[in-house]
């Protein structure tokens, strides 16, 4: 029997999804649970898995188009079986919201003309390059002795507008085509940097108490909850509690006005292969240290494995970016709109500081808060940092 493949709804309010790539080609055998296609919503790029075993057939979803949620974009059929003819072949009409039931079009007619023969062979190198360069192999024509798709075919397909160039052998080795995540990162940071008026407030913090507190709890929490707490976990816990007193910095700048949140969904910036993602620990202001540690490790592991769900990265109210593990002393971070602020955390390192009029060596850490000046001003940011410094000086007061 034939199973339809539809554009899924991954978020409550989602109306359309953009088809980024087919992971399988027309005629490929697919197994239930295997990645079948990639779609992009306004928040994330997601893999969609096959819902049944069989042969992928009758593809009507065109790569790059926005497709209404629920619309059939392909079929999974038994070997030898023909895909059913869809009454509504609206896939090729972009943004076809209002479905028309009138014209029945044979699937073959509305399917995008496959340039690669069904089941066309592709060399291991070409397959790797296609993945790296973000080339959809279904749209590449093979030039191998038996029509195989070769590395040069993928490179030609990836070279922007150079397809018609006669220099077919020109190697694009020095041009890196960004992955989808890389492209999203580029778009979002550009939008934020060019539209949000950033300002920065920096403060050096003595981390002696924070280190001691972590040392004290480390073994205990590892024994009871089987997880090692990190400095990031402590910062998430303390910052989210301090934020409750500073709603301007835990807010969203929206068109009707500034929305102050009464809860803290803490975004944690996580470096992955091709960029950075901020995964969310919801309601971090009420979560225990052990809960925070577990959730942070879970999202970090899934982020690195590319397995984040849209909910994992949605609705953060504030973000922490910690580059301490990279031995960065201090840095400034770019705000993720509509959030109003982001905290950049440098490494903890011994520095010489004045203590009671004498030089002393203390483990110091530099925190830099980036704030949206439409929402908060310098004094507000300073007061927040002051309270955060206080909480870091006596962490037990905030957490117990």
């Amino acid at each position: 029997m034939a199973f339809s493949v539809v554009m899924p709804a991954l978020e409550m309010a989602q109306e359309t999804g953009k088809l980024i790539a087919w992971r399988k080609k027309e005629g490929d055998r697919v197994t239930k649970g295997e990645p079948l296609l990639e779609i992009e919503t306004d928040k994330a790029v997601m893999e969609v898995e096959a819902t049944a075993d069989g042969i992928l057939a009758g593809i009507t979803g065109i790569v790059g188009s926005d497709i209404p949620v629920g619309q059939t974009i392909a079929w999974i059929v038994s070997p030898g079986e023909k895909p059913p003819v869809e009454k509504d072949a609206g896939a090729s009409a972009p943004a076809a919201r209002g479905k028309t039931e009138s014209h029945a079009v044979p699937v073959a007619a509305s399917a995008p003309a496959p340039t690669a023969a069904a089941g066309a062979k592709i060399s291991p190198k070409a397959r790797r390059l296609a993945k790296e360069l973000g080339v959809d192999v279904a749209s590449v024509r093979g030039s191998g002795p038996g029509g195989e798709i070769l590395a040069s075919d993928v490179q030609t397909a990836a070279a922007p507008t150079a397809a018609a160039s006669t220099v077919a052998s020109a190697k694009s080795a020095n041009v890196e085509v960004p992955s989808t995540l890389g492209r999203l990162m580029a778009e979002r940071t550009t939008q934020s940097w060019t539209t949000v008026p950033h300002f920065f407030v920096t403060r050096d913090i003595d981390a002696t108490a924070l280190n001691a507190y972590r040392e004290k709890l480390l073994a205990e929490i590892e024994r009871t909850d089987g997880i090692r707490i990190t400095h990031t976990d402590l910062l998430v816990a303390l910052t989210s509690r301090v934020l409750l007193k500073h709603p301007q910095l835990n807010s969203s700048f929206t068109t009707p006005g500034i929305r102050l949140h009464d809860h803290v969904n803490m975004g944690v910036a996580i470096a992955v292969n091709d960029g950075v993602v901020a995964a969310v620990i919801p309601n971090a202001h009420t979560a225990s240290l052990a809960e925070i540690a577990k959730q942070r490790r879970d999202i970090a592991d899934r982020a690195r494995a590319g397995k984040l769900r849209p909910a994992d990265i949605a609705d953060a109210t504030f973000t922490i970016s910690n580059l301490g593990m990279y031995h960065v002393d201090h840095f400034t971070a770019i705000i993720t709109p509509p959030q109003a602020a982001i905290l950049a955390v440098g490494s903890i390192a011994d520095r010489v500081v004045a203590v009671e009029g004498k030089p002393a060596i203390r483990p110091m850490m530099t925190l830099t808060l980036s704030s949206d000046h439409r929402v908060a001003d310098g004094a507000r940011a300073a007061m927040f940092l002051n309270d955060l410094a206080e909480a870091l000086r006596e962490p037990q007061n905030s957490l117990r």
């Binding site: 060399s123 093979g142 002795p145 040069s152």
Partner: protein
């Protein structure tokens, strides 16, 4: 300074003579090695210089004199055994595989077997099925044995010196059809380490990995390919063990296509091992399956036209490489 040219046979003889002058423990043992200088005249003149005590003629008894050499090596000499035709290594297998290859290991390093076995490989000499095989894969299969396959006079001299100076058994295969091949050979005392491949020709479109006389075949095919606009790289591993995997893999990554050439039988042969090394190391950089070319899986025929058809030639390698590179 213009370099001298020597034939492959002269280069082998010069390496032996220089080593025998340098080290009085080096001696030669085998059939027709003294006055006859072997049927290929490789050893001519050595008995005259070094005498019958160091260039020892034996009866037809490969198992016996190979065993004598293993024992001599264990007790202080550095014998170079001559097995006239590589086909006859069958008779030496127990001495080489069970004794020479194992002594160092089983004695916990107490015994060493610093011997070299020189023998031949290669077809197309009209020598029929018992004198034309290339059986070097057999020794390459056994831990404890090193196997050398020189492809030029230069490599022959440098590699043979290294083999003689090695503290454990080395088998040195010379293609009997290459003895008259000429090439530059320095007069000085130089050595080439075992396990270091040599890129005999640099290219971009396809790698021809070749051993022994197949290197010459590959270089000829590369010239034919060049006329078609295909740039072939020729890589010579020089030793099947130790094996310079990195150079093979790097070349495969560079060109994305590989043909492996060896005159031994293709089935379970040297080409299979080299192709596997490349497939494992360069899989994600390959644009085509690694192709193997070796001797046909038949006894080598005496009939000249049939014999010629059993081994790769410049023309067949050229055609195979062109088919891999040319767009459909």
């Amino acid at each position: 300074m213009p370099e001298r040219e020597l034939t492959f046979a002269q280069a082998v003889r010069e390496a032996l003579a220089e080593e025998m002058r340098r080290d009085s423990r080096v001696c030669i043992i085998g059939e027709d090695v003294a006055e006859a200088g072997t049927p290929f005249k490789v050893l001519s003149g050595l008995v005259e210089e070094f005498g019958a005590k160091r260039v020892v003629d034996t009866p037809i008894s490969e198992a016996g004199f190979t065993g004598v050499a293993v024992g001599a090596a264990m007790t202080g000499l550095r014998p170079v055994v001559d097995i006239m035709f590589g086909d006859f290594i069958t008779l030496t297998m127990d001495q080489m595989v069970n004794q020479a290859a194992k002594a160092h290991y089983m004695s916990g390093g107490h015994w060493k077997v610093p011997m070299v076995m020189r023998t031949t490989l290669g077809a197309t000499r009209r020598s029929a099925a018992q004198h034309s095989q290339s059986l070097h894969a057999w020794f390459s299969h056994v831990p404890g044995l090193k196997v050398v396959l020189p492809s030029t006079p230069f490599d022959a001299k440098g590699l043979l010196k290294t083999a003689i100076r090695d503290e454990n058994p080395v088998i040195f295969f010379e293609d009997k059809m290459m003895y008259k091949l000429k090439g530059p050979v320095p007069e000085d005392d130089y050595t080439i380490p075992l396990g270091v491949a040599d890129v005999k020709r640099s290219g971009d479109d396809i790698t021809l990995v070749a051993t022994s006389s197949m290197v010459q075949v590959a270089l000829g095919a590369a010239i034919l390919l060049e006329r078609e606009g295909i740039s072939a790289e020729v890589v010579d591993p020089r030793t099947t063990w130790p094996l310079d995997e990195k150079t093979l893999i790097d070349s495969a990554k560079k060109t994305s296509r590989v043909i492996v050439l060896d005159e031994g039988y293709g089935r379970y042969g040297v080409t299979a091992e080299l192709a596997a090394v490349i497939a494992e190391g360069a899989f994600y950089d390959l644009d085509a399956p690694v192709k193997r070319m070796g001797a046909m899986h038949v006894p080598i025929p005496f009939s000249p036209p049939l014999e010629d058809a059993t081994v790769p030639t410049e023309q067949t390698v050229f055609e195979a490489a062109r088919a891999m590179c040319k767009p459909s």
